[in-house]
């Protein structure tokens, strides 16, 4: 299987590579449009800041490429947020795959920001979750969130705010948590994404 990881200088692609290695897969980290278009699966991880990341994607022409892909595509954390329409992080226009804006958490003061640590998914019936049984605990680190929308297939609650923790539309998936850091649950989700979708 030909797996591509989008290279855009935002985030620790190494942890995603390590997680793929543990599942027995190799991947190419690339910003080459042709390589991305020809991959069987595309992963779009990210840790960082939205406007800087978008500037890099535009400079490389990836803003167009990423929205026209046909193979299964998985955005992670900032990657998922960049797949939405806009972000309140420095008022950034993002890729617009999911027609919903990314918002900044506004929570009672006793709730720390970032939302950091392990939280549960309320997941719906979707092939991505076919390998899960019972409660799904995942590792989150984020200060911005995607509200519930038509593409929401899993939600999570923090500080009274319920938000989208997994999105799905056509070949595009996004997860707010880090499957590469979410223990057995995360490995199962990556495995399903690679082998079943």
């Amino acid at each position: 299987m030909n797996i591509a990881i989008v290279k855009y200088n935002a985030g620790n692609t190494r942890s995603v590579l390590c997680a793929l290695h543990r599942l027995g897969y190799e991947a190419e980290v690339t910003d080459d449009p042709g390589q991305l278009a020809n991959a069987d699966k595309v992963l779009f991880p990210g840790v960082g800041e939205a406007s800087t990341a978008m500037a890099y994607l535009r400079e490389k022409g990836l803003d167009i490429v990423l929205t026209t892909l046909k193979q299964p595509f998985l955005g992670i954390c900032l990657g998922m947020q960049l797949m939405c329409a806009s972000s309140e992080e420095h008022d950034t226009q993002t890729l617009g795959i999911f027609p919903i804006p990314t918002r900044k958490f506004s929570l009672p003061p006793e709730f720390k920001i970032p939302h950091m640590g392990w939280n549960t998914l309320q997941y719906q019936d979707d092939r991505l979750f076919s390998g899960l049984k019972g409660e799904a605990w995942c590792y989150f680190v984020h200060s911005y969130y995607v509200p519930l929308c038509e593409a929401t297939i899993a939600s999570t609650e923090y500080g009274g705010q319920v938000f989208s923790s997994v999105l799905h539309k056509d070949n595009y998936y996004g997860c707010q948590f880090h499957p590469e850091k979410s223990g057995d649950v995360g490995e199962q989700l990556l495995k399903t994404f690679l082998e079943e979708l």
């Binding site: 390590c18 800041e49 970032p114 850091k181």
Partner: protein, 258 residues
Amino acid sequence: MLAKRIIPCLDVRDGRTVKGVNFVNLRDAGDAVELAQAYSRYGADELTFLDITATVENRSTFRSLVRSIADHISIPFTVGGGIRNEADVAALLDSGADKISINSQAVARPQAIDELALHFGSQCVVCAIDARRNPAFDNGAEEGWEVYVHGGRTGTGLDVISWAKEAYSRGAGEILLTSMEHDGVKGGFAVDLTRRVSEAVGIPVIASGGAGKMEHFYEVFTKGKADAALAASIFHFHEIDIPELKIFLEQHDITMRR
């Protein structure tokens, strides 16, 4: 609901884990990668590795250890010890660490927190604070605590609460608060100090130093308002096993990852 985190801490010297009582009399508690894998299997929520020798010649050993840990475990981990500059941080993150913790370096040059947060993101910058009781810092009924550096040997004249606030405002993503008074003594965490720090900052606080029994974790999560609790020897020597601890805390209405 967001779970409280249990974090075993592995002090590493030359690729092996060691932990002493009050930072002296080091005892070898085993191979770091093996321990990391075991903790990951037994339900640790996160791991912390501190390079306690932190000499220049051993730095590359530590980096290859970090790489090996990243290859083997699927939960987040933080590394610290001897980080001097951005190049050190970049090397550790490239090796697969999720977060780095800085301590003496941040006190010596607070601007370093801003720079690291800007370049790598707040989420990976943990400001470690070693605190020691100092009556000269008392404020009315509130006990005064001073920030110590260099493994707890050197006082800095900084008040712990003010320093935690400053680290937060400069962009630290988490505070790792260790009470030097409680570390290794197993008499419980510095609950009151942890609560004060947790209330003073808008970022998660990891309580460290003093865990001896399961009730201590309950105390620091409730009265201490800690977001996470860190311990070493009690886990390494199986005085408390993590699965058992998590069941105990869940029975006491603390949200735990299962």
